[in-house]
Symmetry: C2
Subunit: 95 residues, 2 copies
């Protein structure tokens, strides 16, 4: 599934709730999901970790929807197949 399609699906499912909640509330949900991902990674339950990865990308897409950002375009613009700092693939940054 394309990043764009996933973001559109999130919009179809949740835009009415996300836009009511607003940017700050939606960002806080994203932060909560990132924390839950860490908790899941501490355990030895791959399925739980996968669900938290799904939730992080889902809330990131929700936040992009209510801030008018095209997540796929943003991702490909910054990472067009090479490192944005050293311009190499693989990255050859020395820091």
């Amino acid at each position: 599934m394309q990043i764009h399609e996933f973001q559109e699906m999130m919009k179809r499912l949740y835009f009415h709730r996300d836009s009511e909640r607003g940017v700050e509330g939606t960002y806080k949900w994203l932060v909560d999901e990132v924390e839950e991902l860490w908790e899941a990674l501490q355990g030895n339950d791959k399925e739980a970790a996968e669900k938290e990865f799904a939730d992080v990308i889902a809330w990131l897409a929700s936040l992009a929807n209510i801030t008018g950002v095209d997540l796929e375009k943003a991702a490909v613009n910054k990472y067009p197949g090479r490192c944005p700092k050293c311009q190499q693939s693989p990255c050859q940054c020395t820091f």
Copy 2:
């Protein structure tokens, strides 16, 4: 670009660095990027916000790479076109 393709690109660019840094260090970078996203959203600079959205999905993909998770599969499994809680599209959850 498919979520899977983006994750593969991140693997090609950064797996050597991500795997050396390890899960905890890579998770910390993800958290930093999430914080930078918030800072960017406070300003009125859409381009800056787009770059931070890109960084969050990039570090999420890096973390998925070093934990052996297929981000696209995880996302589609949890969000197969309907809300995982109420099973509706759009979501009809009442809480």
